[in-house]
């Protein structure tokens, strides 16, 4: 049976006021999703509802294991002991070392800077081997490459990511995007198809990722005929073909 997590007409109210309602979505295994939405639309609360940390209405069917990361964890011990490194297979050890980019795992967690604390927090959750991993807007400490390393890590561990972000550039790392509103999902679909809906996105108050925005404008001047997500390809197209 296909692994999935179902949300049907999920909503949250606080102090008799509805924060959001009618959120329905089926999260499928091996299909990473990025969720964006206006400030305070209830994105974090949605994750907390899935985690059963806040009361909600509607239905959430979770048949597979889930892990959540809302903030950097407050952990104690060395990296090695926290992730039980010696008990892992060689393959997993290698994947973890590639992600961590640290040679010494004997460092105490408390000595690490925020970025490495975040990496260890991620590993701590990943090594519970969940099917679905829900992460709330905490990757801003990472460079684009580190975000990609994170996605590779999850792929290697066969974990599906549901990521909430306020950074529109992050959407480009995902194949699928959901735009959340007070009344459920406003737009969803293949990332480029969603971002291409320039007028709607602007009306909702979103700025577009730089290369998407630039491509769309160049397209309107008929200088290119597609959206480029890679600056090298865009450069080649503009300055080699004239």
């Amino acid at each position: 049976m296909k692994k999935k997590l179902q949300l049907k007409d999920v909503g949250i109210s606080k102090n008799n006021q509805i924060i959001f309602k009618n959120f329905s979505y089926v999260l499928e295994h091996k299909k990473n999703v990025c969720l964006i939405g206006k400030t305070n639309v209830g994105k974090t609360l949605l994750l907390k509802a899935i985690a059963n940390e806040v009361p909600y209405f509607g239905t959430i069917v979770k048949k597979n294991s889930c892990q959540f990361l809302f903030h950097i964890l407050d952990l104690k011990g060395t990296i090695e002991s926290l992730i039980h490194f010696s008990e892992l297979s060689l393959n997993h050890q290698n994947i973890i070392l590639t992600f961590l980019k640290l040679n010494n795992l004997k460092y105490s967690y408390s000595e690490l800077n925020l970025k490495f604390k975040l990496k260890v927090s991620i590993l701590f959750q990943v090594l519970q081997f969940p099917t679905f991993f829900f992460v709330d807007d905490i990757l801003s400490l990472f460079s684009r490459q580190e975000k990609m390393d994170f996605l590779i890590l999850l792929r290697e561990f066969n974990i599906t990511l549901f990521y909430v972000t306020s950074d529109i550039e992050d959407t480009l790392l995902f194949p699928y995007v959901i735009v959340m509103g007070r009344d459920g999902i406003l737009i969803e679909g293949n990332t480029i198809n969603v971002l291409k809906q320039e007028k709607i996105m602007h009306r909702l108050g979103f700025t577009l990722p730089f290369l998407v925005d630039l491509s769309l404008q160049l397209k309107s001047y008929e200088m290119i005929d597609e959206i480029f997500l890679d600056e090298q390809e865009l450069i080649q197209k503009l300055w080699k073909s004239n």
């Binding site: 102090n15 939405g37 305070n40 400490l141 108050g205 979103f206 700025t207 300055w239």
Partner: protein, 218 residues
């Protein structure tokens, strides 16, 4: 590393501090600076009670005006602090700074968690506050949030800090992520296509149009 914030308190200026990895707890305590922190611990208090206690001449109408200014719903007054989201908590601290008439406000990663439209609004608000003589100290690693609003730019390195003149200085990007707009222009510069140093998409678009029409080639 230690930094003396008082050296950067200058009326009507926005100073950016980039790549600061120290703890805000260790920064000097200074009555003149109001801290709007990203990781402020919540307290188990109703917002109204907190403000009545903290602000000597607290009035709901002034609170309402300040809320409006920072895009916060006035109904927050009846909520408990520990019910608030991170962005609500940051905006509420901002309200407190305004009601306190703080001349210097320090923001830690304020832009985090806000989407496009709100970010642009706060950029304009910071600039507007400097017109009223306020000093803004902005700690962030998001260079794009600083575009168009910063007077001074401090970059923290391993053991010291330097003043940076513009967003195109290479040294900045040894420490933090380069925004895609700067990456594109630098990449083109390396290929001997000089567009100019822009920080706005529409300016880059115009420069590309000029370059391509002038027949520039790789």
């Amino acid at each position: 590393m230690e930094i003396k914030l008082k050296d950067f308190i200058k009326p009507s200026q926005i100073t950016a501090f980039v790549n600061f990895n120290g703890s805000f707890k260790n920064l000097e305590s200074n009555q003149k600076i109001f801290y709007v922190l990203d990781d402020k611990k919540s307290h188990d208090k109703i917002v109204r009670d907190y403000f009545i206690e903290k602000i000597i001449d607290f009035s709901e109408s002034k609170f309402q005006d300040a809320c409006k200014m920072v895009l916060l719903d006035y109904s927050i007054l009846d909520k408990n602090w520990n019910q608030l989201s991170k962005t609500e908590m940051k905006r509420l601290q901002f309200v407190e700074a305004l009601l306190n008439r703080s001349e210097t406000i320090l923001f830690q990663n304020f832009e985090l968690g806000f989407y496009g439209k709100d970010r642009s609004y706060y950029q304009k608000l910071f600039v507007k506050l400097t017109k009223y003589g306020k000093c803004i100290l902005c700690f962030t690693n998001d260079i794009t949030f600083l575009f168009g609003m910063v007077t001074n730019f401090i970059l923290f390195r391993e053991n010291d800090y330097i003043f940076v003149n513009d967003f195109y200085e290479d040294e900045i990007y040894q420490y933090i992520e380069m925004p895609p707009i700067i990456s594109l222009i630098k990449n083109l510069n390396q290929k001997n296509i000089k567009l100019g140093s822009y920080i706005e998409t529409k300016e880059v678009l115009k420069a590309i149009y000029r370059s391509v029409n002038a027949g520039d080639k790789l």
